[in-house]
């Protein structure tokens, strides 16, 4: 009997799990989790998200632990705690919405209101989303890479450079890719200071980089209160499918700007946001399952995410140059165009830093915050279009997404 008990314990050790069929995949994913922790801690890559994601990846890949699944031998439910969190907040879409509330409560739209035409830079930078989308469809001609339209749309949204938007869209359209897409999105957001500057230098002349912009006028409290309301109104009229994202962003922002609900906006920014960040990170990380992560699709996603970022950056810079052609009296330094990809506030800081390399007295940070927060709105709008049109364009086959249904 003690032999039986011992063998029972032995047969459920992780050691044996890693050595059994498919176990090597779990071992590799755990190493990937450790790499994410290393990058987050040692290189400062978006640690607030990548540490929970990395840890979630590790926990989810421990054999026989079923922390992100259901224990088949359990008699008392046996639903792992990360699966509980996933079902509660990612499958339902609640967690990214709550994060967006907190982001709204932390965002100051002042620079955008002072110089509204920078909104167009935030629009231009969404170009990367759609190019990556088409890229994903094109590389599916290669054997071993199979993205349907749902998957391609989720990959494209990496180019939005906005974590909660990417997670929200992916959880709606292609939840099986959640792990790789979230990791790509947050990794490239962390890499913004490396990816963007060469592109910015390539596309601008030295004179352009030295352009000084007029100082931003002060924005009144009332304008800041009316702005979220007007954004929500336009969104409700034009694109209802974007209102969950845009609405929660603007709710958070109104709670902050109105000045009479500081208690609520404090909680949105702190206790609530941090709690949701922990839960969301663990849940997203748990989707980095070996069989869904260790394939050529993931490689494609990482590649396309990079393309999307680069293209969004470039398009933002180019549109800024076009705007200078059309309206030479109020010149825009094209270096702030790259901030339109979102990645708040990293991208704005990159604009400012590159600008100061050429003239240390040229302070672009405030000017770049305009396109930067415009990029958040732009990504949410692009997300709304994808959410509205993709399921209509590509109906499910027997309740499954085409790329998955074809292989069943």
């Amino acid at each position: 009997m003690i032999g039986q008990a011992f063998s029972q314990l032995w047969q459920t050790t992780g050691l044996l799990g890693f050595l059994s069929a498919g176990g090597w995949g779990n071992a590799i994913m755990i190493l990937v989790g450790f790499v994410l922790l290393y990058l987050a801690i040692s290189k400062g890559f978006e640690p607030l998200l990548l540490i929970p994601i990395g840890f979630g990846c590790i926990l989810a890949n421990i054999p026989y632990a079923y922390i992100a699944g259901i224990d088949p031998t359990s008699t008392s439910g046996g639903v792992g705690f990360i699966k509980l969190l996933y079902d509660m907040g990612i499958e339902t879409g609640l967690f990214p919405i709550l994060i967006f509330m907190g982001v709204g409560a932390m965002t100051d739209f002042g620079p955008l209101i002072a110089n509204p035409k920078t909104l167009l830079l935030g629009a231009a930078a969404q170009f990367g989303i759609f190019v990556a989308l088409i890229g994903a469809l094109l590389i599916s001609f290669l054997p071993g890479i199979n993205f349907d339209l749902h998957a391609a749309a989720s990959i494209g949204i990496i180019g939005g450079a906005d974590g909660p938007t990417a997670i929200y869209v992916t959880s709606r359209l292609a939840p099986d890719l959640l792990g790789s897409i979230a990791v790509a999105a947050y990794s490239y957001m962390a890499l913004v200071p490396i990816i963007q500057p060469p592109i910015m230098r390539l596309l601008t002349t030295k004179e352009e980089r030295l352009i000084k912009m007029q100082q931003l006028r002060p924005v009144s409290k009332l304008e800041k209160i009316l702005f979220p309301i007007s954004v929500l109104s336009i969104c409700a009229i034009l694109l209802p499918s974007a209102t969950p994202l845009v609405g929660s962003l603007m709710f958070g922002n109104l709670a902050k700007e109105c000045g009479v609900t500081n208690r609520l906006s404090d909680t949105m920014q702190n206790a609530l946001m941090n709690t949701v960040t922990i839960f969301l990170g663990l849940s997203v990380g748990s989707k980095m399952e070996a069989d869904k992560f260790l394939n050529l699709n993931t490689l494609g996603i990482l590649l396309l995410g990079m393309v999307a970022f680069a293209l969004g950056t470039g398009m933002g810079v180019l549109i800024a140059k076009v705007m200078n052609k059309l309206d030479p009296k109020h010149p825009v330094n094209p270096l702030i165009g790259s901030a339109g990809v979102s990645a708040v506030p990293m991208a704005a800081r990159v604009s400012s830093k590159v600008g100061q390399e050429y003239n240390p007295q040229n302070f672009l940070l405030m000017h770049a915050m305009g396109p930067n927060v415009a990029g958040v709105i732009g990504s949410a709008v692009a997300a709304g279009v994808l959410l509205a049109v993709v399921p209509f364009m590509e109906p499910l086959i027997d309740g499954l997404r085409p790329a998955l249904a074809v292989f069943m």
């Binding site: 509204p116 094109l138 279009v385 364009m393």
Partner: protein, 90 residues
């Protein structure tokens, strides 16, 4: 062996992708352009018709959140009582 989606599906997908790009960038630009105009209009409107209310509005909520008046019910009992106690001690 590596899997592959059927060719005709792939071609239709690319076609859909191009449509999505046109629609998507179109809507993004229309949306944000409308937002440019509405923001400019709002700023103009506020400057022209509500210039005085600005500081008023700005101040009222601030004082409201400092003073207990606009705060939530119970939260302010303590403050109210503290004030009353302070009074009664004179």
């Amino acid at each position: 062996m590596l899997h592959q989606l059927p060719k005709e599906l792939l071609l239709e997908q690319v076609n859909n992708g191009l449509i999505l790009m046109v629609l998507g960038m179109g809507v993004v630009f229309i949306f944000l352009t409308l937002l440019v105009f509405s923001t400019k209009f709002l700023s103009f409107f506020v400057k022209k018709y509500l210039p005085e209310t600005m500081p008023t509005v700005a101040k009222r909520p601030v004082s409201a959140s400092d003073s207990p008046i606009a705060d939530t019910a119970g939260a302010e009992i303590a403050a109210a009582i503290a004030a009353a106690v302070a009074h009664s001690k004179r």
